[in-house]
């Protein structure tokens, strides 16, 4: 019951969820690439096509999709709530609207940082 409430687009925790996911992904990416290079470095001849870049790319794609989906859910909820509560002084539409923007910002950050995977092979010093 509590968990389902927290997952609603109007719950204030949505204001924190997007960037928390981003931060966890970011740390996992940094740690994962560093450890992968430390313990199982791919051959430099493989260039971009190696297991580290592929895994990091897939994870990043999944996180990006998740954040965009969450942004859409919050935005839809905001539109519904805004129509329903026109003239009402409840903060729910506000939370959903800001959460939608924050998910989008987190998705943008994920996309921008992920692009760097295309810049370089993972283990070059």
């Amino acid at each position: 019951m509590q968990m389902s409430k927290m997952l609603q687009p109007t719950h204030p925790l949505q204001l924190l969820a997007g960037h928390t996911v981003w931060l966890l992904w970011f740390c996992a990416l940094y740690a994962g690439v560093s450890l992968g290079c430390q313990w199982f470095p791919p051959s430099p001849q493989q260039g971009f096509w190696n297991w580290i870049s592929a895994t990091a790319g897939l994870l990043s794609g999944a996180i990006l999709a998740l954040l965009l989906w969450a942004a859409i859910c919050c935005w839809r909820s905001f539109r519904r709530q805004a129509v329903r509560s026109a003239g009402d002084a409840q903060p729910r539409p506000f939370v959903a609207a800001v959460a939608a923007g924050l998910y989008l910002l987190a998705a943008l950050a994920t996309g921008l940082v992920s692009l760097t995977l295309l810049l370089s092979a993972p283990c070059l010093q």
């Binding site: 740690a31 690439v33 903060p91 609207a97 800001v98 910002l105 940082v113």
Partner: protein, 843 residues
């Protein structure tokens, strides 16, 4: 559940009588008894004045450095003193001025802006102030005693270890800063809880003042951002004092671990300083543009976004230490990314000014200076986020110029704007426009003359932290200009301080709401009374004074909420964190000596550790614990707090008569800080395991399986017992409360015994191996939290006997339950890391 009187007065009392009664209950004693004051207004004044003194001292250090650098081969100060000066200048400005001043402003303003009479934990405010004062005195006295730290404000290892810095300087820094950080974290906890739980009726999240949003984000960042540095300081001090080798490569440590932990704190720190200042800007811009802010939602989005993204940038301070190229690219991209939410805020301010009718009063002038300097600093920040450029200018004066643009532009100018704006609040008088303008232009021109030129000096290759230089390198003229301008800046700053000091005597009397502002802080008489509001307001918009012009009058007539005072208790309204619907009355403790006594004992502990007098340190620890426990005793239904005898009827319960009190929020917020520290510790564990070349794990499990599992079982059982007590109480079952809490305390004691036995049995060699040293620190962390839980629960059991904890006053039980859960979770996470992960990974 016990209920109390109605929140709103049915028959307003005589306002003059009400004011007299409120003044009697909220009075701040004078003379030596004033040391027991806990009221947020008085505490904030003390913070502001102390912070200003530290600012002046750190500014004088800067002047000494600029004098030394004015000429090549100058011999004004020698290299030893110069090293101490730049270390102390940075340390004092960052830890004793910037963060505390911003927190002080928040401590002063937040209750007034959100319609509360005080912060949620007044005694914690006072405790925070004393820790700050004592810590600051300890740090600064090292300079007078000629034992000041000289390794730079970031204290990099190995330079700061016992081999290369054998004196007491780094110890002063490590212990003093940790002491001061108690103050920062305490303020963070109470600001979060106050903003979430004590807002005026009707002030839902979407109507909260933007300053409160900024402070909420900042306080959250303090809670998560400061613990990594606290941990790093503890580890380095243990290395220095007890030879535990966390940063020693030969024995399995790594000096880069310090840099990671330091910058995990250090980069968010920049935003911890900037965001409150941006909150000041967001408060002042609509007032001087004479229109509501444009893009309120965008501003909130930008604040939260900035707060989070700032935690993903720490490695951009470490671009030159040899990190893989791809990782550099991650942090470079994230560093540029943070410009987006920061840019959103700038455009929100510009749009508001564009569509408003700006008045260029004195505070607005300082804001104009902020816009110019901060945007320039932000742009050089984006330049430094580019790795190749950073490599070129790393550790040059370009970096010094950049961060002064960001910090002085992003913090000092808005702070001064804010102080001029709220000056009538402090004194009931207006500042001098004429002197203020002179001070502004001298400061502005002096600042740019000093630091704009310094970009050039840096691009010419002058390294930072050198105490002198050869003539003929092209650095002579820019350094001379910087130094002369530095003195112009100092004159401007001195003029500003003199203007503020003199206005208390000569300033024109301020009218009510002299700037025609929109915020609740202007409904009260000037200067502000200690209780802020005679009756508590109900708000219906983000700009209550513009939408409810008669609000001040109705509040002063005693026609709004919570007007009763004849019970003699200090109170404010407790409200729902989202909707701000009133849900309880928060009783606030009155003046107390315990915060001062506890802080003094911790100060003595700090001095004893510095002097390596460990017997005295133990005594000081016991005294501090006794003070803190006695402080916690005077709560709830205690005779000095809100005894059961004063119950009356009414729709809103007193918070101590509920299960969802501000205390529970405070515990959860504090545990977030502890959790951040523990995750930093786990990071250290996995980092050294993965990176340190000499990390030496034992061939088998380092601890006894049987003993460690028994300790974990005891931890789980203690947690379960307290949880059961909590659940039973929530269901209305009071029987066996004392037995269950007592059993939980006993089980926790058993856990502590088993943990000590486990360590003793393991035969670890902490001075020879970073692995073993970290195992001990992880156990010590869990042990400390378990010990606190045991003491708190034993005390609770005792309070059940006295009737201070019962079904009628249940709030303390749900406060302690999360501590048990946290302690057990940390035990098992640590156990997993120490016992299972190496077995799984290494076979």
């Amino acid at each position: 559940m016990s209920a109390r009187r109605p929140a709103a007065a049915e028959t307003p009392k005589d306002p003059a009588h009400l004011r007299a009664e409120f003044s009697r209950v909220w009075v701040n004693p004078r003379g030596w008894r004033s040391l027991s004051v806990v009221n947020h207004t008085a505490i904030a004044y003390r913070f502001l004045i102390t912070g200003t003194v530290f600012f002046v001292l750190a500014g004088l250090m800067a002047m000494l450095m600029r004098t030394q650098l004015a000429l090549p081969q100058h011999e004004f100060v020698d290299h030893k003193l110069y090293n101490q000066l730049f270390t102390m200048h940075g340390t004092v400005m960052m830890f004793l001025f910037a963060v505390p001043m911003m927190e002080a402003l928040a401590v002063y303003l937040i209750p007034k802006m959100i319609g509360a009479r005080d912060l949620a934990y007044p005694r914690l405010s006072a405790f925070g102030y004393w820790c700050y004062l004592f810590g600051g005195i300890i740090i600064l006295s090292s300079l007078a005693l000629q034992m000041a730290p000289d390794s730079g404000w970031f204290m990099y290892t190995p330079l700061s270890n016992a081999v290369f810095s054998p004196g007491r300087g780094p110890d002063v820094w490590l212990l003093g800063i940790t002491f001061v950080e108690i103050s920062a974290v305490a303020a963070g906890v109470e600001l979060i809880v106050s903003i979430l739980c004590t807002r005026a009726a009707g002030m839902s999240l979407d109507k909260m003042p933007l300053f409160a949003w900024y402070i909420l984000a900042t306080a959250g960042m303090i809670i998560i951002g400061f613990p990594p540095l606290i941990l790093a300081s503890i580890l380095l001090e243990l290395e220095r004092a007890a030879n535990l080798p966390f940063f020693d490569v030969v024995r399995g440590g790594d000096p880069l671990l310090w840099q990671h932990l330091f910058w995990l704190f250090g980069h968010p720190e920049v935003y911890i300083i900037f965001l409150p200042a941006a909150g000041v800007v967001s408060t002042l811009v609509p007032v001087f543009a004479q229109r509501p802010i444009i893009g309120y939602r965008w501003a909130v989005l930008a604040v939260i976004g900035t707060a989070f993204i700032s935690f993903g940038l720490w490695v951009h301070h470490m671009f030159t230490v040899g990190i893989p190229q791809l990782a550099l690219a991650f942090f470079s991209a994230a560093s540029m990314m943070v410009a987006i939410p920061t840019g959103i805020q700038v455009f929100v301010w510009l749009a508001t000014l564009w569509y408003g009718r700006p008045r260029y009063s004195l505070p607005m002038l300082w804001l104009a200076g902020f816009f110019f300097i901060f945007v320039a600093g932000g742009l050089t920040g984006v330049m430094l986020a580019l790795v190749p450029f950073d490599w070129q200018v790393h550790d040059t004066h370009f970096v010094v110029a950049h961060f002064h643009y960001v910090l002085v532009g992003g913090m000092l100018f808005p702070l001064i704007a804010g102080i001029y704006y709220w000056l009538p609040h402090f004194s009931g008088r207006m500042p001098s426009e004429r002197v203020g303008r002179w001070a502004f232009w001298l400061t502005f021109l002096g600042f740019n003359g000093t630091f704009l030129i310094m970009h050039w000096t840096g691009l010419l290759g002058m390294p930072r932290r050198i105490y002198t230089y050869e003539a003929g390198l092209g650095w002579d003229l820019p350094n001379l200009i910087s130094s002369v301008s530095g003195f112009v800046l100092a004159i401007g700053t001195a003029m500003m301080l003199a203007d503020i000091a003199l206005h208390f005597r000569f300033g024109r009397r301020a009218d009510p709401n002299p700037w025609q502002s929109n915020g609740l802080e202007w409904v009260m008489p000037l200067p502000a009374p200690p209780y802020n509001f005679l009756t508590l307001p109900t708000v219906d918009s983000r700009d209550p004074l513009w939408s409810q012009p008669a609000l001040a009058e109705t509040l002063q007539q005693g026609e709004q909420l919570l007007p009763e005072i004849d019970h003699g208790l200090r109170e404010t309204l407790g409200s729902d964190p989202v909707t701000a619907r009133p849900r309880q009355i928060v009783h606030l403790p009155t003046n107390s000596w315990w915060p001062l006594a506890a802080a003094a004992a911790i100060g003595a502990l700090c001095l004893a550790l510095l002097g390596k007098v460990y017997g005295m340190a133990l005594v000081a620890t016991v005294i501090a614990a006794v003070c803190l426990l006695r402080w916690s005793w005077e709560n709830g239904a205690h005779a000095s707090s809100a005894p059961l005898a004063i119950l009356r009827s009414g729709p809103l319960p007193l918070h101590s008569r509920t299960f969802d009190s501000v205390g529970r929020y405070g515990m959860i917020t504090t545990l977030l800080a502890s959790g951040a520290l523990y995750f930093s510790l786990l990071f250290a564990w996995y980092y050294l395991w993965a990176i340190a070349p000499e990390w030496l794990p034992p061939a088998g499990a380092p601890l006894s399986w049987t003993l460690s599992l028994l300790a974990g079982t005891a931890a789980t059982a203690a947690c379960a017992l307290h949880t059961i007590a909590n659940l039973r109480l929530r269901r209305g079952v009071e029987q066996q409360l004392g037995v269950l809490t007592g059993a939980a305390a006993l089980m926790g004691t058993l856990q502590l015994g088993l943990m000590v036995w486990t360590l003793h049995h393991a035969g670890l060699q902490p001075t020879l191996s970073a692995h073993d040293a970290l195992v001990i620190v992880m156990f010590a962390f869990v042990g400390f939290h378990t010990l606190v839980a045991v003491l708190a629960t034993a005390l609770q059991c005792w309070r059940v006997h006295y009737g201070y904890v019962s079904l009628a006053v249940p709030y303390e039980v749900p406060v302690v339950t999360p501590l048990w859960s946290f302690s057990a979770a940390c035990f098992w996470l640590g156990w997993l890391s120490i016992m299972i992960m190496p077995q799984v990974w290494l076979g």
